[in-house]
């Protein structure tokens, strides 16, 4: 099987993962980094993508395009674009109603549309894919934020196609993350609610996904473009600036270049602090020719950013209210995005969801790309079928949950269990095996239907088996057919006795 790729194109960085020979892995770029900054810089003679562009940002800010993901596929009049235009060091102009970056390239003024910029980033990704040593066809799944509209998705896929990728599908980032952890993929009966917490360079997304019968359904999504890793860097940089002022009685803020330098150093410190207890910060000739040297401990850093950490939990609460769930309903938490590497943040999340399973075994800034690669692997080979039409995302599901109660109950409590949760895709089949106790000769299972609360349940029907052998074992198969009717078949193992009912759909 040919290799299948997954590309995660974030606002600050991009990551490429490959599925090959049953394994998914991230492909490192030519510099050996597994994540490439999604930054494009234009210079007098060349254009640079990735680390080279990021390093030049101090000198060449007005010709270095960052954060292109925010403008991609949007209209120029979009308030979000207007906001970016106001704050961006690169000049953004209107071109055919769409925003375009005006930069100086090869000593000429040139405009590039966001699609073109994204294409350059994807091209860089494709070069990495090619260096991986595979044929020309690069079947790829690309990811996008949940709140991307079809137009933006289209723009994203366009730029990937233009860069030479064969885009199989555009999927949402949180679902890709859930797929990376194989949720519901191995065991179709797995049912859980997953919270995907993504904290990237410039934005924070919280998504609640319900996994049922191997299918993912997004219950709620909150996007906060105001919270991001850069705020952490800023706090740290401010801390250093204060220290510098105390030490040398001189304000770094007078010098823009110095601020940028300090930010770079602070960012490095932040990265180091995610793994080490202390980090050194040294900037040569920071301001007025003074070399700056300092160190910061993780504890210090955590105390600096404690208010930010608090802020980072806000979207979590928001998304839970939107999904009408409590934190106890969340079974799993997935973290992704580079900023979630901060140990304090993971700790606070873990504390918040103390009952949920915390999934962080995959490096957070690679998880989305890995998920995409997995999806690409699933889709590779059946070209025609991989193309989805809009309405095909819709799946027939049960509108209410189905519960069963087995009588007589062995235990004291009323043993009411959920057979199919609400919104279970059909057709579905479930099988339960009941061991009968001694001297038990009758077996009865009642089937209920209920809305959210199981208290106002409605009895749909029951299956009763009389004169079953003692110590018998009853296998009950519940099968919801395509047309929506529920067929219940109970078979006794030793006698082969069979009893079935058909509950029709309305």
């Amino acid at each position: 099987m040919a290799a299948a790729f997954g590309v995660h194109f974030g606002s600050t960085s991009a990551c490429l993962a490959v599925y090959k020979d049953g394994k998914t892995d991230v492909v490192a770029n030519e510099a050996g980094d597994r994540v490439t900054p999604a930054i494009v810089a234009f210079t007098d003679h060349d254009k640079a993508v990735g680390l080279a562009a990021k390093q030049g940002i101090i000198r060449n800010a007005q010709n270095t395009v960052c954060n292109v993901k925010q403008t991609l596929g949007r209209e120029f009049t979009d308030p979000a674009v207007q906001q970016i235009t106001a704050s961006s060091p690169v000049k953004i102009v209107e071109k055919d109603g769409k925003p375009a970056y005006e930069v100086e390239f090869q000593e000429k003024r040139a405009t590039f549309t966001p699609v073109q910029i994204a294409e350059l980033v994807y091209k860089n990704m494709r070069e990495i894919a090619q260096s991986h040593g595979d044929g020309e066809i690069h079947d790829t799944v690309v990811t996008c934020p949940v709140d991307y509209n079809p137009q933006q998705r289209n723009a994203l896929s366009q730029s990937a196609e233009a860069a030479g990728f064969h885009v199989l599908r555009v999927i949402n980032e949180p679902t890709a993350a859930a797929l990376a952890y194989d949720l519901g993929q191995k065991d179709i009966h797995e049912y859980c609610n997953v919270l995907v917490y993504r904290l990237g360079g410039t934005s924070c997304d919280c998504t609640v996904i319900s996994v049922n019968c191997g299918m993912y359904r997004i219950l709620a999504n909150i996007s906060r473009p105001d919270i991001g890793g850069s705020s952490f860097t800023d706090v740290l940089a401010e801390h250093f600036a204060g220290e510098f002022k105390r030490q040398w009685k001189s304000d770094v803020h007078e010098n823009k270049r110095a601020v940028a330098k300090l930010k770079n150093a602070a960012e490095n410190c932040k990265h180091v602090l995610s793994t080490m207890p202390t980090a050194q910060c040294s900037v040569e000739s920071l301001h007025e020719g003074i070399d700056f040297q300092s160190s910061v401990s993780r504890a210090r850093f955590e105390s600096l950013v404690s208010s930010l950490l608090q802020q980072c939990l806000q979207p979590v609460e928001q998304v839970l209210t939107e999904a009408q769930l409590t934190k106890e309903n969340i079974h799993k938490v997935i973290v992704c995005g580079g900023t979630t590497k901060i140990p304090a943040l993971q700790r606070s999340l873990k504390d918040y969801f103390n009952e949920a399973e915390f999934l962080n075994s995959i490096v957070p800034d690679e998880v989305v790309a890995l998920g995409a690669a997995k999806q690409a692997a699933i889709l590779t080979g059946n070209e025609e079928e991989s193309k989805l039409h809009e309405q095909e995302n819709e799946v027939e599901c049960l509108s209410k949950q189905i519960l069963i109660k087995v009588l007589p109950s062995n235990s004291d409590q009323d043993k009411l269990q959920v057979l199919f949760p609400a919104f279970t895709p059909i057709p579905v089949r479930r099988q339960h095996v009941f061991d009968l106790s001694q001297e038990q000769t009758t077996f009865c299972v009642e089937i209920f239907e209920a809305d959210d609360s199981i208290n106002d349940r409605v009895l749909l029907g029951r299956v009763v088996m009389q004169e079953v052998p003692e110590n018998g074992q009853i296998t009950a198969v519940f099968h919801i057919r395509r047309e929506g009717s529920l067929h219940v078949t109970c078979t006794e193992k030793t006698s082969g006795k069979l009893e079935d009912v058909l509950i029709e759909a309305q």
């Binding site: 999927i171 179709i188 995302n393 069979l498 009893e499 309305q506």
Partner: protein, 627 residues
């Protein structure tokens, strides 16, 4: 803890399940893909790997198992070729749609049940070796489990209906057509070699393209059907190479024949369908209708265009005609007005003249004696002819305003003025002619007059020594001096003369004329020389070419020069039309022209002026029209 009540001792259904709901699902994961695949293929759950528990699969199949067994037991292993292998494996209903997986499973199931060892263990009696019906099962799997063999078996599937619907009026019916042909096409579609979905017959509302695609597909239908299964003899049975070859040949021929039949069959099917298809008829009709409509529209458009053009032309013509009429009328009116005015002016002039004459007469021509009277009378006539209207009027006024003395004064003054004016004009003209004549003469005043001979030689010399010759004029002067006896010309003189010649006389024709005359002159000179020898009498006057011409022929054919023209004009003015022998006098003033020449010239000029005026009028009229 509620125990089941008595009335609930049996299974029952109380309510119906709530209706389904469409929910948007993230398009990721293998289960989603599996779902989509199922939905696309419209398969039920049991056909996919979804069946986690396969033991419950064939609950409904239990009843048919017994029938199967009876059937199996009745099979004769020797007759395997006629047997329905799908039925043997219990896939009677799946047939060619059965997946390889299904076949494999079905076979394994049958083996578990019908293997001789198993049956022996169950105590059933088993026939020895190949005679047992179990060989049928293995044979069936042998064929269906092998892709190639299965295909050849599928090709001749006894269950397949090879019939082709007939072309009949019944089948042409709208409803009937689809009912009859759709299942046939659907059934035959399975032979298609192409992976893609075979185009469906569609319905009565199918678009032209759809129908077209459908027939295009079926007309070059690529079938995978083959007939190796029906081979009479097996190749492997041949004793030796020759025999095997022979068998193969036979089989090949039989297969080809069958294949051909199949192709014809499909062809016939499509032909019949095409003939019966109500849509084809409809499309044909529509096409016809469309063409007709197009034609009609075209015709209509052409007709309209022609009409439009005709109308436009007529309008234009009408407008032109009107314009012309208007112009004509205007011109007429103008002409009439001009005529009237002219007449009026003439009348006034006449009247004024008359008054002048009568006044003068009244004053008795201010004359004392007869001679003065005659002179005054002539003066009066002259005044009346020459004076313009306004001056005439003023004169009349002056004449009538006072007594005889004052009138006489005025009259004489006027006569004098007129005479002065004419004299002045004459003088001016004379001066001008003098000046003209002295163009060469001015030099001649200082030096000697240029003789004709000298001029001839000069012209010759000028041509001989073209511009650019070193010290050209000196050379020319020397040349003239050498060739003309008694001539002593300085280069300056030569230059002046050459220039004068160039300026005045020497337009191209005259030059030619001079050259032509050169010989004549030479002759004359010779004669003269002869005469001179006899009489030795030099000629006194050398006549100009024109004068000679006039003298000799009575007319000068050369074109009129500007001087001549001026002279003529002046003469015309000096001698008004009333003067007797006017033309003789005019001719006298112009030496180089005869009377006849002058008259001719006058006529030409008059005509020219007339033409000029007409052209001017036309241009004016045009300009007026434009504005």
């Amino acid at each position: 803890m509620d125990s089941p009540p008595a009335e609930e001792d049996r299974s029952m259904v109380v309510a119906k399940i709530s209706p389904l709901q469409m929910v948007s699902i993230e398009p990721v994961g293998r289960w989603f893909e599996a779902y989509c695949l199922r939905r696309r293929n419209k398969q039920s759950l049991s056909h996919t790997t979804m069946t986690s528990s396969s033991s419950e699969e064939n609950i409904s199949d239990a009843s048919t198992d017994e029938e199967d067994e009876l059937m199996l037991k009745g099979l004769d292993p020797k007759e395997w070729k006629q047997q329905d292998h799908y039925a043997v494996l219990g896939l009677k209903n799946e047939r060619y749609k059965a997946t390889e997986e299904q076949i494999k499973r079905a076979y394994k199931k049958k083996v578990l049940k019908h293997h001789p060892d198993k049956r022996k263990a169950r105590g059933e009696n088993v026939k020895e070796g190949d005679d047992d019906y179990f060989t049928c099962i293995t044979r069936a799997y042998e064929i269906l489990g092998n892709r190639v063999k299965r295909r050849s078996y599928d090709s001749v599937d006894p269950q397949f209906d090879d019939d082709v619907p007939e072309v009949s009026s019944d089948n042409k019916d709208k409803e009937e057509f689809f009912e009859v042909f759709r299942p046939v096409f659907e059934a035959n579609a399975r032979w298609s070699n192409k992976k893609k979905p075979v185009p469906q017959l569609g319905d009565i509302d199918s678009s032209f393209d759809e129908v077209n695609d459908f027939y295009a597909f079926w007309y070059d239908f690529d079938s995978w059907r083959e007939y190796s299964y029906l081979d009479e003899e097996e190749k492997e049975k041949g004793q030796d190479r020759e025999e095997r070859k022979w068998i193969e040949r036979q089989n090949k021929a039989a297969r080809a024949k069958r294949k051909k039949e199949e192709v014809t069959r499909i062809r016939l099917l499509v032909d019949n369908a095409y003939a019966c298809d109500p849509r084809i008829q409809r499309f044909k009709d529509e096409e016809k209708e469309k063409k007709l409509a197009q034609k009609r529209a075209k015709q209509e458009a052409a007709r309209q265009k022609a009409e439009e053009e005709k109308r436009k032309k007529e309008e234009e013509l009408e407008a032109e005609r009107k314009q012309k009429e208007k112009e004509e009328e205007e011109a007429k009116a103008q002409a009439a007005a001009a005529k009237k005015e002219k007449e009026a002016m003439k009348k006034i002039l006449k009247k004024e003249r008359k008054t002048l004459r009568t006044i003068i007469k009244e004053f008795d021509y201010f004359a004392a004696d007869e001679a003065e009277r005659v002179k005054n009378m002539a003066d009066v006539e002259k005044l009346a002819d020459m004076l313009s209207l306004t001056s005439l009027q003023s004169l009349n006024e002056a004449l009538t305003s006072g007594d005889k003395e004052r009138a006489s004064q005025a009259f004489t003054a006027e006569v004098k003025e007129l005479d002065d004016k004419r004299e002045a004009e004459k003088q001016k003209l004379l001066e001008a002619t003098k000046k003209q004549n002295s163009g060469g003469g001015s030099a001649g005043a200082r030096a000697k007059q240029w003789s004709d001979e000298e001029t001839q030689i000069l012209i010759k010399a000028v041509n001989l020594f073209p511009a650019g010759t070193k010290q050209r004029w000196e050379v020319i002067a020397n040349y003239i001096n050498q060739h003309v006896e008694g001539s002593n010309r300085t280069p300056k003189e030569v230059l002046g003369q050459a220039k004068a010649l160039q300026k005045n006389v020497m337009d191209e024709s005259q030059k030619q004329l001079v050259n032509e005359k050169a010989f004549e002159i030479l002759q004359k000179e010779k004669e003269q020389k002869k005469n001179a020898k006899v009489g030795d009498k030099p000629s006194e006057r050398v006549e100009s070419v024109g004068e000679q011409q006039v003298a000799q022929t009575g007319s000068n054919p050369a074109p009129w020069t500007t001087e001549e023209q001026k002279l003529l004009e002046q003469a015309l003015k000096t001698f008004p039309a009333s003067v007797k022998d006017r033309w003789d006098r005019i001719a006298e003033t112009i030496a180089t022209r005869s009377k006849k020449d002058c008259m001719k010239r006058y006529k030409e000029l008059a005509e020219m002026v007339k033409a000029k005026k007409a052209a001017q009028a036309a241009a004016d009229a045009k300009a007026a029209k434009k504005t």
